[in-house]
């Protein structure tokens, strides 16, 4: 059987082949999304080796559970892989007892001023460093809300907290980041 290049295969075809344990298709999916999922893990987990390991666990779970996945158009497999990887990151943080989330008053963070185009002056590495400087609870909610497109209801369900706790964690994360950005700029 000839193996077409990664570009020719669309997501639906790749997933169909991956369901049949086709190693070539699995490799294409992996090499296509491995970098992106590694960056995702690095937002939640600062240590590179741990982040890579969690990324691997996410892919393993993805390939082994494809039978329960329903393809809903281009990008749905990538979104499912992203959700699985986020869950793997959360599981990792829970196992290490790093995910501690507490309620608190967040009103004081609403009126912190920011200047225009402050991020333009920062490198990606500096942005990532700022995210890593957040307490794990704040960082997790911030990542889920800002980067992984989850609303507070979803975050609350996933983390087993109330929506208000999720909101307060996000506000605190934002406040800390703004302060850091202002200091830097």
């Amino acid at each position: 059987m000839s193996t077409p290049s990664a570009e020719i295969w669309n997501e639906a075809e790749l997933i169909a082949r991956c369901r049949k344990k086709d190693a070539a298709a699995q490799k294409i999916v992996f090499t296509r999304y491995a970098g992106e999922m590694t960056v995702l893990c690095l937002r939640y987990i600062a240590r590179q080796e741990e982040a890579k390991e969690v990324m691997m666990d996410g892919f393993l779970r993805f390939f082994n559970n494809l039978d329960s996945f329903t393809w809903r158009g281009e990008g749905s497999a990538r979104a499912w892989l992203q959700r699985i990887t986020v869950n793997q990151c959360l599981t990792h943080l829970r196992r290490r007892n790093m995910l501690v989330l507490t309620d608190g008053d967040d009103s004081s963070y609403d009126h912190i001023p920011t200047s225009d185009n402050v991020l333009g002056q920062l490198t990606v590495r500096e942005i990532m460093k700022m995210i890593h400087s957040l307490p794990v609870g704040y960082r997790t909610v911030f990542n889920m809300y800002v980067f992984d497109d989850m609303d507070h209801k979803e975050i609350a369900q996933t983390l087993g907290i109330s929506e208000s706790t999720s909101k307060s964690q996000l506000h605190r994360a934002r406040a800390i980041l703004k302060e850091k950005i202002l200091q830097t700029s």
Binding site: T38, V39, L42, T114, G120
Partner: protein, 262 residues
């Protein structure tokens, strides 16, 4: 302001190549690790047929080895039996040679080896070979004696067999007399002593003991074999070794330990 800031942050991170955060990140190398986890080497499945074949071959080999071992054991047992027989024959010969040497040294006479004298027929030789546990009988007379013990063996559905065993005893010589031992015959056979002849070799004079003699052959034999102990009158010689007229009562006695003819 916040949503714009976050959107900008998100776009920056999304556009960022992974090796900017993880220098030297190689997706192909990571795939090699991933592939090993996804497709671990499976242990080779062996069918039942192969297992049964292997078991059958092993059983055959074990059986072959066992048979070879059994054959070796039987061969060794036979060899041991043969060796024991040879050792017994050698010790018997040594005993005879020793007795002969003793007689030669006492008399200076050349006398034939005891087994040749004792065994006149193949049957007698067999009897002579079974005498090691028998009582020693010593010739206490001044003349060489020849003692012939004639036995009858009766077995069911067979003709009675006569067994004659002759023994030569030099003066002073002690030896086990050759005769058929009742222990050496089949359990359903019987053995009786018919006659005993005690002959003075020098003169040829013979005392014949049978059922009609004053003392029966069976009675004398019971003393010769050690079954009975004490003294018993066996007969009379009317001449000495030089054939001179001289009456000599022959007796068997076992009061001094060995059975002595005097």
């Amino acid at each position: 302001m916040i949503p714009e800031l976050e959107r900008e942050m998100k776009e920056k991170l999304a556009a960022m190549p992974v090796d900017e955060l993880v220098p030297g990140f190689d997706a192909d190398a990571e795939w090699a690790v991933m592939s090993a986890r996804l497709h671990p080497a499976r242990p080779r499945m062996i069918s039942l047929r192969v297992w049964f074949s292997a078991a059958a071959v092993l059983l055959l080999m074990a059986g072959g080895v066992w048979m070879l071992q059994q054959r070796d054991v039987q061969r060794m047992a036979a060899q041991e039996q043969h060796t024991a027989r040879e050792e017994w024959a050698a010790s018997f010969k040594a005993e005879v040679d020793k007795e002969q040497a003793l007689v030669d040294s006492q008399k200076g006479a050349s006398v034939a080896a005891l087994p040749d004298k004792v065994a006149d027929t193949p049957k007698e030789r067999k009897v002579a070979g079974q005498r090691t546990t028998k009582e020693l009988v010593r010739n206490g007379t001044p003349c060489p004696l020849e003692i012939s013990i004639n036995q009858i063996m009766k077995c069911p559905n067979k003709k009675p067999a006569a067994i004659s065993s002759c023994n030569t005893l030099e003066p002073g010589q002690a030896a086990s007399l050759g005769y058929k031992d009742s222990d050496a015959i089949a359990s359903n056979c019987s053995l009786t002593v018919k006659t005993i002849e005690i002959k003075s070799i020098a003169t040829g004079e013979t005392i014949l003991l049978d059922e009609n003699s004053s003392i029966s052959a069976a009675e004398v034999f019971s003393y010769m074999s050690g079954e009975k102990q004490g003294d018993i009158y066996a007969g009379i010689f009317n001449s000495d070794c030089n054939n001179n007229e001289c009456r000599h009562n022959l007796r068997l006695g076992s009061r001094e330990g060995d059975i002595i003819i005097h």
